[in-house]
């Protein structure tokens, strides 16, 4: 019995090690979205390109789309933009932009320099739709199915690996169901 007790620290250390190892690689900044499985919240916001033209949640109806939340002020958005161009041009993915807490002229400068992969851009200078979606930092990318229901939320930059490993399976599943 005494002999066995000598192994107690080892057992404890192993148990703590296994517990901690399970946490390695979990990104604590990636939170589950409360919006997954729910429809895109109702909104009525201007189009970035056509001031005065109002857009609402019906822009997501009919086809699976990515909703990309971006702003000219967001450095990581500059980084991911070439991948969005690639997705739109080479992969034919429908991307809706949500220009978040930005100014029109800045947004246009951004698109002028890097290109415009968006089918439509929702202009949200006050961040109201972003707030309703639970956006807490750009860039964020949502997968939205043809019924306008949020399927997935990715926080951070979209690149080839994120697309192949994370977003594409969700998109395929969403396409299969509708």
């Amino acid at each position: 019995m005494k002999r066995l007790m000598l192994f107690l620290p080892l057992v404890l250390a192993l148990a703590v090690g296994v517990f901690l190892a399970a946490g390695i690689g979990n990104d604590p900044t990636e939170l589950e979205s409360a919006r997954v499985g729910k429809p895109v919240p109702e909104f009525s916001l201007e189009s970035l390109h056509q001031p005065g033209e109002m857009l609402d949640q019906s822009v997501f109806q009919g086809e699976v789309s990515l909703l990309n939340v971006w702003g000219e002020w967001c450095p990581a958005c500059w980084d991911e933009h070439e991948y969005l161009m690639w997705l739109a041009n080479d992969k034919g993915v429908r991307i809706i932009g949500l220009n978040y807490k930005d100014q029109r002229e800045n947004a246009f400068r951004f698109l002028g320099r890097l290109g415009d992969p968006y089918q439509t851009i929702i202009f949200d200078p006050r961040g109201s739709l972003g707030f309703d979606l639970g956006v807490y930092g750009a860039p964020e990318t949502f997968v939205i199915d043809a019924q306008g229901v949020v399927r997935y939320r990715h926080v951070g930059v979209v690149n080839e690996r994120v697309w192949e490993e994370i977003l594409l399976p969700v998109v395929n599943q969403a396409r299969g169901n509708s």
């Binding site: 900044t29 409360a34 639970g134 930092g137």
Partner: protein, 160 residues
Amino acid sequence: MRFIPVVLAALLALALPAHADSPEFYDFDTRAEEQRFRNLIAELRCPKCQNQNIADSNAPISKDMRDQVYLMMQAGATNDEIVGSLVDRFGEFVKYKPPVDRRTIILWAFPAIAVFGGLLIVAGVVLRSRRRGSDEPALSPEEKARVEQMLSDKDPSSRS
């Protein structure tokens, strides 16, 4: 040294704007309402800067969340409705006090488990030492004799 109070007053004035985003800029009808607001923003967690509540955080999202809390309070919402509306958007994460359910039961039960485990260990140690203490004297007669011999020996090395 008459200028010291002036300097102190100037320093104090400089120090105050550090709280520029705090509720001083939200207007409340009563003290109780203001206290309620402070309590609410103190127990909501900023999703961006994860170890701060939205009262302390300067992140833009925290400002938006404080505004939402304020607007809902002005519209007459209850605390549960306000917290619920933020949880609907940002998830359970924003609550510093998670609800007791299947996923969080270990979290909630852990303090009790730790205290109980500690009590068991203490009880075990006490029982064991008590049993040993009553059964046998600390030293056998031979050991006692040796100790006495050692203590009386001025120079232990000379024995051998």
